[in-house]
């Protein structure tokens, strides 16, 4: 089973904020790291140009320095997150960096699809909820994937859209490949009859 997708029925976590609109896939993972032949370990390149100078030294104002890995597994970002060129490396990098879900008021379509395929949950909320989260860093949140509810401690809870198959996979802690593998018998039957 895919580790990233393991027991994703409920996510309880603190949030980490990047209060910037239009964070594109090139900011999530710069193009120069795309030709890698592995997907493991891409977290080290996540938000690279926010964190590091050209020469590899850390930027003094690196906003990711505030991030508490393990405790803050939900990223809150400005509108239109994941715009720009389509690359599955973006969700891979975010997952490897330690995020399980991203909350924003709008996501680029392709980013959304790529994320769901890979077990990263994009959650769309309205502007008020986003503003509240951005104004309250390190917010305690609870995400109930099966019921498509996001609960903000001390604020209330809101629904979010999620297609049936993504919910099916995320609540079972499986990903798409696991789902196909579970149908091994049907595949064997098909091969026999073909």
């Amino acid at each position: 089973m895919n580790e990233n997708a393991k027991s994703m029925g409920i996510i309880e976590s603190r949030t980490f904020n990047l209060a910037v609109d239009n964070i594109d896939t090139d900011q999530i993972i710069p193009g120069k790291f795309l030709t890698t032949t592995e997907r493991e370990g891409l977290g080290q390149f996540c938000f690279y140009s926010w964190r590091f100078n050209e020469d590899g030294s850390e930027k003094p104002d690196n906003p990711l320095r505030q991030h508490q890995p393990g405790r803050q597994r939900v990223l809150v970002a400005g509108s239109n997150f994941g715009c720009g060129s389509s690359r599955e490396h973006a969700p891979w990098a975010l997952l490897d960096y330690g995020f399980q879900a991203v909350i924003s008021s709008r996501f680029a379509d392709i980013f959304c699809n790529n994320s769901l395929k890979n077990g990263l949950l994009p959650i769309v909320v309205d502007d008020n909820v986003l503003e509240h989260l951005l104004a309250n860093p390190d917010h305690a949140v609870r995400i109930d994937i099966g019921n498509r509810r996001l609960t903000l401690d001390g604020y209330g809870d809101v629904g979010f859209p999620l297609d049936p198959f993504s919910a099916y996979c995320l609540t079972r802690g499986i990903d798409q490949l696991d789902f196909i593998l579970q149908n091994e018998q049907a595949i064997l039957d098909y091969e026999k009859s073909a």
């Binding site: 030709t35 592995e38 493991e40 395929k117 198959f165 099916y168 798409q176 490949l177 196909i180 595949i187």
Partner: protein, 434 residues
């Protein structure tokens, strides 16, 4: 025409049904069995990596065919055999594909193969692409193979891994879009003009969520290369795939190819393939009818392939933001003709137009004429086999490059524009030099 009946199916429905491992449910998509996966070096490394991470093997290596085509330099190697890759990482991708294919027993057409080429040119040339197959590749132009009556999808790296591990692909049932084109094409009008016309007729999102079937007398009269060009560009209007029912042209093309069935198997295969057509009375979810007589040599004037005009017509003079942005980018004025605009570089190639017939068409216009001063012509054959043949015929030698403000057009229009150094209607040049 007869009434639509329950039993009548479209070509797409027949291929779809034959490959269903499990039907879709409200919660889960259909599981579709895949007959052939084409692999190349860019979208496959992470897929192999994921397999390794999960301890999975390749389910049916004999259903995979690999080539190197994206990161590979088009310039010849040095005398000592050194090849100049654009980056070291490009070289690494090529090396990794070699390792992965060797490890999993997958047939790879590498540097030393006489068949190496753009996957979508090589598959048909080798006879790997056959009617009724389901074919996938980690490249958006996989729809090309639909020209043979195959159902061919472009997929992402994650799905490349799914198919390697399980030989299956998850799909929601697409809608069917019939595009019927009837009548004879005017001289100088090619498949590229037809598909540009179709895209402008239905819009760049007119095919979204659909599989297109091109049919009608115009399509029946087209050679395989023309059908491939049309299917290839299906994705430019958002369609998932494009298909043409196989017929005598298809069988003729496939006969004797290295991977085509042979002997008694050939007859049996052709009998099966003949059943792969839309039954009379079968209904498409949507049908668009196009009169071939309305199609002229076409060019794109803007920034997406739906922005198409006949080469002699003025570009649109509209005030909507989309039009204004595109005009500004292309440095054009609304209402002014594109024909006559200076052209710096003419490129004939890519998986859409790098087949022998494309190169021959261009050569028929260029024969006995010179490229205009100040205009550069770049021609890249789609495969080693095509390059050898084109060179043997004395047509071309070329290498790759790219333009900035791009006008999409047919090889004929491109060749005519190369001669004048301006966007040019190829009909001025039909029939060779005076």
């Amino acid at each position: 025409m007869s009434e639509p009946s329950q039993a009548a199916s479209t070509l797409f429905e027949k291929v779809w049904k034959r490959h269903l491992v499990r039907n879709e449910t409200p919660e889960t998509p259909a599981i579709l069995y895949i007959d052939l996966q084409l692999l190349h070096e860019v979208t496959s490394p992470q897929a192999f990596d994921e397999l390794k991470r999960r301890g999975l093997g390749v389910r049916r290596p004999e259903c995979c065919l690999a080539t190197i085509d994206h990161s590979t330099p088009t310039s010849p190697p040095d005398a000592d055999g050194t090849r100049h890759y654009i980056t070291e990482q490009a070289r690494a991708q090529v090396d990794v594909l070699h390792v992965n294919c060797a490890e999993h027993g997958i047939e790879l057409h590498g540097w030393d193969s006489p068949n190496r080429g753009i996957v979508h040119v090589m598959g048909p040339e080798m006879g790997a692409t056959q009617p009724g197959m389901t074919i996938v590749c980690g490249d958006s132009h996989t729809a090309t193979h639909g020209a043979f009556g195959a159902l061919a999808f472009g997929i992402g790296t994650t799905e490349v891994g799914h198919v390697l591990a399980t030989q299956c692909l998850l799909q929601n049932m697409p809608k069917t879009l019939g595009i019927r084109i009837e009548g004879d094409l005017e001289p100088g009008v090619t498949a590229k003009d037809v598909i540009l016309h179709v895209i402008s007729a239905i819009g760049v999102d007119g095919g979204t969520g659909s599989v297109i079937e091109y049919h009608g007398s115009t399509v029946r009269a087209m050679d395989m290369e023309s059908r491939m060009t049309m299917c290839n560009m299906s994705i430019e209007c958002g369609a998932r795939a494009g298909m043409v029912a196989p017929d005598e042209f298809t069988f003729e093309y496939l006969k004797g190819r290295p991977m085509s069935p042979s002997g008694a198997n050939w007859e049996r295969a052709v009998d099966e393939w003949k059943k792969l057509k839309t039954d009379p009375g079968a209904a498409f979810d949507r049908l668009v009818e196009i009169d071939a007589a309305d199609i002229e040599p076409s060019v794109t004037w803007g920034t997406n392939p739906g922005m198409v005009i006949a080469v002699g017509s003025p570009v649109p003079d509209r005030q909507d933001p989309g039009t204004l942005d595109a005009l500004e980018y292309m440095q054009l004025k609304g209402g002014v003709k594109l024909a006559g605009e200076a052209v710096d570089v003419v490129f004939i190639g890519s998986c859409t137009n790098s087949r022998l017939t494309d190169l021959r068409a261009a050569a028929s216009v260029m024969k006995g004429r010179k490229v205009a001063q100040g205009t550069r012509v770049l021609i890249v054959a789609g495969s080693e086999a095509t390059r050898r043949q084109a060179e043997a015929e004395g047509n071309f030698k070329g290498r790759q490059g790219s333009g900035v403000r791009t006008v999409l057009a047919s090889p004929l229009t491109a060749a005519a524009s190369a001669i004048t150094g301006k966007v040019t209607d190829p009909r001025e040049f039909l029939g060779g030099a005076a």
